[in-house]
Amino acid sequence: MRKPQLEHRHSPVPYISYVIGFVLSVIATLMAYWLVVADIFSGNQAVIIILSIAVVQLIVQLVFFLHIGRGSRWKLATFILAIIFVVMLVAGTIWIMNNLDYNMMNMSPDQMTEYMEHNEGI
């Protein structure tokens, strides 16, 4: 009879896994740091590049420190699901919060006050 899915035994993790993970993470960290401190990119470009480096380091640590993919398949599945919800929450919040002054015609409160005083005699 098929038992419910449990983690299957895997061979012990080699030490080198942590060494590789550590070295790659250090490189990624230094790279991101240098890119910002040396002002190589700016604005949206910088954000995307730093985000990408962060994601790369995330995957490195997931694989080499957390050994995701080995062992129970539920770990990878729940992780992906969690990330999906994380992205929905963070992206949704940013999108919504930026949009809440839509009817303010992209003005700051001070600008809007000036506009109303000037144009509508208020």
């Binding site: 098929r2 419910p4 929450l89 919040t93 919504i96 809440l100 839509y102």
Partner: protein, 661 residues
Amino acid sequence: MTSDLQSFLFGRLTWADFVHDPVMAASGGIMVVGLLGIIIGLTYFKKWKWLWKNWLTALDPKKIGIMYLIVSGIMLLRGFMDAVMVRFQQATNDSLGVLSSDHFQQIFSAHGSIMIFFVAMGVIAGLFNLIVPQQIGSRDVAFPFLNSVSFWLFVAGMIIINAPLVVGEFSNAGWLAYPPLSGLEYNPGTGVDYWIWSLQVAGIGSLLTGINFFVTILTMRAPGMNMMKMPIFVWSVLGSTALIMVVFPILTATLAMLSLDRLIDTNFFTTGGGGNPMLYINLIWAWGHPEVYILVLPAFGVFSEVVATFSKKRLFGYASMVWALMAITVLSFTVWLHHFFTMGAGADVNTFFGIMTMIIAIPTGVKVFNWIFTMYKGRVTFATPMLWFMGFVVTFTIGGLTGVMMSVPAADFQFHNSLFLVAHFHNMIIGGVLFGVFSAFSYWFPKFTGFRLNERLGRYAFWCWLIGFIVAFVPLYILGFMGAVRRLDHYDPSMGWQGLFIVAGIGVMLIGVGVVFQIVQVIVSIKQRHQNRVGNDPWDGRTLEWLTASPPAEYNFATIPTVSTRDAFWEMKKTHTLPKDTDVEAIWLPKNSANGVVIGIASLAFGLGVVWHIWWVVVISLIIAIIAIIVKLTDDHPDRQLSAKTVARMAHEYTLKENHG
């Protein structure tokens, strides 16, 4: 006592905080008298040790489930009294001047908070505990100690939210406490703090329950029960717990930030300092919308079980039911802005969330059709559980339609925060969640007690609830159309609304009669229990819980059954392959643990300490909780053994009881 010493020992608590206006004092008095009655009763009948050993420190999910239901039932009465007061105020249009405006605000805030967190969440936790292990052929949940902690955190939160009846005041900011009203500037008193910490403590309990049952379902199913052979109720719990795990951390973080604003002057949601109250609304609804699906999915699961059993036919479209449940689970996380369409967002954002809200109605519709198709050409009997289902189909469908109406952002500018909205969500929660709970109660009551509920009284209760609900809430839909907003403690008499409010008040009284019938039903059924004894399978059921004795043995199954189809128990009956408890092995069950109670008490002290700014209590209770956790988590012998001989003897006794009544 010097005032320095006094403020250190007691924070901002003073004698004045115990003084309340007459109505609140009376409510608090009733609660205290009730508590004293219980304490005196337990002492007089010398039942403390029995209570402690058999219930309070028990880790058996069946016991924990029953305790959840009892606490939730009592909270239902409290929340219902709050509702009666609201209806009374609005039906009389404050002409009697019994409730002050401030008191009224506290009443509807308490009503909503208690109903959602301490009735609905408690009841579904109770259902999870009682039903899931048996339906998957298991003896226990994945983390029995965590289960106990969850329950005691629930109780701690319950005590915190009822404390304002006696000391201090409750929040006047509604069940979601929007800032800036809930911020320090406009609400410096204890009200909002009570609300925050009650929910924070109970919320952690809920999160742990979610993790517990999710892991239980994934890893503790009987041999042969792959995911597509699980009962649909179990699938619905999987969806509900997945949502709990995803969204309760959002609630925790948001409540924490609001409390930081109130305690240490941060500026998350303030009107100055760069704060943004809309951020609170965004986050709280990112939790709040999935929350209502957390509540309703198990109700859907219950109905799937009830409809199949009482149609004597397997559920129509199992695969599409699973798909619908999973779709609803994921989609429920994509609609939350519909709670604040009117609060500034532009057309593109509103449109996206409006469309997603409409889409989520589709899988729900699939489920309704599947239930109806299950009944078609089945041999349907309308026992009380099935009556609740029929009531659900009618009311929930109508409520769902009003939801689709409001999902159109332009239309929502008319409906938002009107009584139309209030009627809609009560429609969904009462017609959906509560009717599902009542159906579950009457369906599974015999399993846990060994005798039936009185059918006639059950029918009376149902009709009172159904008709009472319609009479109470249809006027609110109409009033909403006429422009009446929510949370009014009085209105201009020339609006012509009072007639409808009076009708709504009558509806609530009819519901009250229904509640009385339910209470009487339980009392009468207990009195008549010897005439109404049942065996393990009173309804000719389809799923594994009907295999166990009524009430079940502590270990549920002497031998874990092996399963090969859906509706495993039905299959076993048809093919005469019911398992026999011949070769039983030793069984390990968790020992009792007082640590759950300790953690609950520590959390209660922590919450109350923060509310009243009594910092030494906060620190000490935190330390005690941490020690209790470390002690339990480093315990290497949490289980006790029932020897094979003991199990064989118990199994034999249960068989004797079955055969001889």
